[in-house]
């Protein structure tokens, strides 16, 4: 059986599983469709949250970014897990006590202002659409590979599937489908990692293998990796090469963005009790950590494997022969990935070998001119393909490759579909029914939800064709927007009794606008390519890249809210009482249905 058939079988089986569970679960509990988390144990809820949370960015993209940058991209690891501490300590229990269903409802009530609610909805829609663009990039990679077409065709096919999946709808609300998705996702991620860790270090636990010994050389794995990459003129893997301030701000942006994104916060609204909201955040992080502790091992080990494949005789020997790439089974993955347009090589100096090295390094330029090399001949290695290509690179059995394809598709689809649902309900429920046309019929509301979904997938697909970055980088921009707009007002809404309606509105708008402008200046206006004035290699404000600006935007939000609130009418007593009551668990009503 060829690999394509195996991949389709695995992806098909996983879909059958989700749909089967959705049908089974729906038959029993039609009524609490919205309150999917109600009465669900914190462990189960944590697993479902983890599936919702870990998207194409975590599954497909992150390890690749770590692999090709090294230590500096530890920011993704710390940022996307550290945010759960903020959620558990600063938001989850209080929002659960408040007892409504959406983030914008809390903001509207706490700041006694329909305008605040409207601004919050707009912030959430902008962050979510940006997030979907990142997912679509991942969808393109996953579908391109498993259907063996170029990534643009993959993206278009994927968009149709995501749309159908989201319209089918209810899937998102069913906790047990997400539990199944989590199981598929984590198995698909860890099994190849275990195989590779065993191959390289003899240790079955990748997180330990990362700090273990490379069996072929007898050196510690990371020391060996540092050696081979510096031999080829690349930055030392474990060293800090980037800017420290940017690294801190980027990590902080991801952390507070995590605590500001609606689809994660919403899960804590529906747990049975306030104390469960605290536990649930912990359990979600347990299941997320299983992937996040493995990801750096996947990245480092893949980088070592790739480097050694291109330099089979050692980094000071002869590079791999073109003939070997074409005929040797161990290099078959290069042919299949070349079809997606995300991997490319070219024998520039016609020596029948492919030299992979850093052509910008001075030391390497010297060696290159001596050896007659004419530049790096691995002309394209898209970071986003690393996780999906990894089992093929390591020559693992066909079923492992099929499993990873199913996991990648699950990760991208579940989050993309979930976000589309969040966007469509924000538009139809909060925006149209809540503001523009309160007397809209239920049918009209449903229709507008579908239209919103279709429009956002078209926008995301169009922008996904020329994405502002790799999947995880685009998603990081979405986190920056959420960090700058939503997190500060949620926190002030709970921990301050003096921030009033005008302060909150001004804060959200200021945070959102400065962050969007900063991002658009670097990534193009509305992410349209070539409309940018700066690049992230040479940002407007010193070392601060557009992905790191969310933390600055959050500060602008806090300061603006404070200044405006201190100069306008104080908060009325009934709202102060509301804040006081949110702070104590006693009196929490059971999760209500909508």
């Amino acid at each position: 059986m060829d690999q394509t058939t195996i991949n389709i079988i695995f992806v098909g089986l996983s879909f059958a599983l989700y749909i089967g569970i959705a049908i089974w679960a729906r038959a029993g509990t039609t009524s609490d469709f919205y309150a999917a988390g109600r009465g669900v144990h914190p462990v189960t809820n944590g697993m479902a949250t983890a599936a919702d949370w870990m998207s194409a960015a975590s599954f497909i993209s992150m390890a690749g970014l770590i692999a090709f940058t090294g230590y500096d991209n530890s920011t993704y690891l710390m940022g996307w897990t550290g945010g759960y501490v903020l959620l558990a300590l600063l938001l989850a229990p209080y929002l659960r006590k408040f007892g409504k269903y959406t983030v914008s409802e809390f903001i509207g009530d706490r700041f006694y202002s329909p305008t605040a609610r409207l601004v919050a909805v707009i912030c959430l829609i902008i962050a979510s659409i940006t997030y979907v663009i990142g997912q679509m990039t991942g969808v393109g990679v996953a579908f391109g590979r498993f259907l063996e077409v170029d990534s643009t065709t993959g993206l278009l096919i994927g968009a149709v599937v995501v749309f159908a999946y989201a319209v089918f709808g209810g899937m998102k609300g069913v906790t047990y489908t997400q539990v199944a998705q989590y199981v598929v996702l984590i198995t698909a991620y860890t099994i190849p990692a275990i195989f590779i860790s065993l191959q390289l270090t003899g240790n079955p636990i990748p997180a330990f293998g990362l700090f273990g010994e490379d069996q072929s050389s007898g050196e510690p794995l990371l020391a060996r990796l540092d050696q081979v990459v510096t031999d080829l003129g690349f930055n030392e893997y474990t060293a800090h090469n980037g800017d420290t301030l940017n690294m801190v701000l980027f990590t902080l942006s991801l952390m507070i963005g995590t605590a500001g994104l609606p689809h994660v916060i919403m899960r804590f609204f529906t747990v049975p009790r306030v104390s469960d909201a605290r536990w649930s955040a912990g359990w979600a992080l347990v299941f997320i950590a299983l992937l996040y502790l493995t990801a750096p091992a996947v990245g480092a080990m893949a980088r070592l494997n790739i480097t050694e494949l291109f330099w089979p005789n050692g980094t000071d020997g002869e590079a791999v022969a073109l003939e070997t790439i074409q005929n040797d089974e161990a290099y078959d993955w290069m042919g299949t990935w070349q079809q997606t347009g995300l991997l490319g090589w070219e024998d520039k100096n016609d020596d029948g070998r492919i030299q992979y090295y850093n052509a910008d390094s001075e030391a390497m330029q010297e060696r290159a001119s001596e050896a007659g090399w004419e530049g790096n001949e691995l002309t394209n290695f898209n970071n986003d393909i690393l996780v999906l290509a990894n089992p093929e690179i390591a020559n693992l059995p066909g079923w492992v490759i099929g499993l990873v394809a199913a996991g990648g598709v699950a990760a991208a689809l579940s989050t993309a579909a979930g976000l589309l649902l969040a966007i469509s309900s924000a538009v139809s429920h909060d925006l149209i029914k809540g503001r523009i046309k309160p007397d809209i019929s239920e049918k009209g509301e449903l229709l507008s939800a579908r239209i919103a979904m279709a429009v956002s997938i078209c926008v995301a697909t169009y922008l996904g064709l020329n994405p502002p970055g790799f999947a995880a980088q685009t998603v990081a921009l979405a986190f920056g927007i959420a960090a700058a707009s939503i997190f500060p007002v949620l926190m002030m809404g709970i921990f301050s009794t003096t921030i009033n309606n005008r302060g909150a509105v001004a804060g959200m708008l200021a945070g959102l606008i400065v962050t969007l402008i900063y991002i658009f200046l670097h990534k193009g206006w509305f992410f349209i390519p070539d409309t940018n004035s700066f690049t992230d290699d040479n940002p407007l404000l010193g070392p601060i890249k557009s992905t790191s600006f969310g933390a600055v935007g959050a500060l602008v939000n806090f300061v603006t809210a404070y200044i405006v609130a201190s100069r306008t009418k104080p908060v009325p007593q009934d709202i102060k009482d509301l804040v006081e009551s949110v702070r104590v668990p006693r009196g929490a009503a059971g999760a209500q249905s909508h």
Partner: protein, 104 residues
Amino acid sequence: MTVKEEETHDMTDHSNSQAQRASGGEAYWKANIRLILISLAIWALVSFGFGILLRPLLSGISIGGTDLGFWFAQQGSILVFLILIFFYAWRMNKLDREHGVNEE
């Protein structure tokens, strides 16, 4: 206990909550803020501290071919985050009972 039973409990709690808040509220909130500040100090120390800013100071301690700061950035901080959330949940649920503001 089923969800239904919990809801009945919640209803009776609700009527007492005003009085409870007045007596236990302020000390409870102070204790909570203190716990949050301590937890966040540790949160920042292991990630921004050990993982990034203080990494040069930890460079003497080697682990698996690199230094302790690298380990904190890629593994240690995540493990500490986990411990922090569970510690906070356990401690707060205890505080809830001590101050009589728990849900049951």
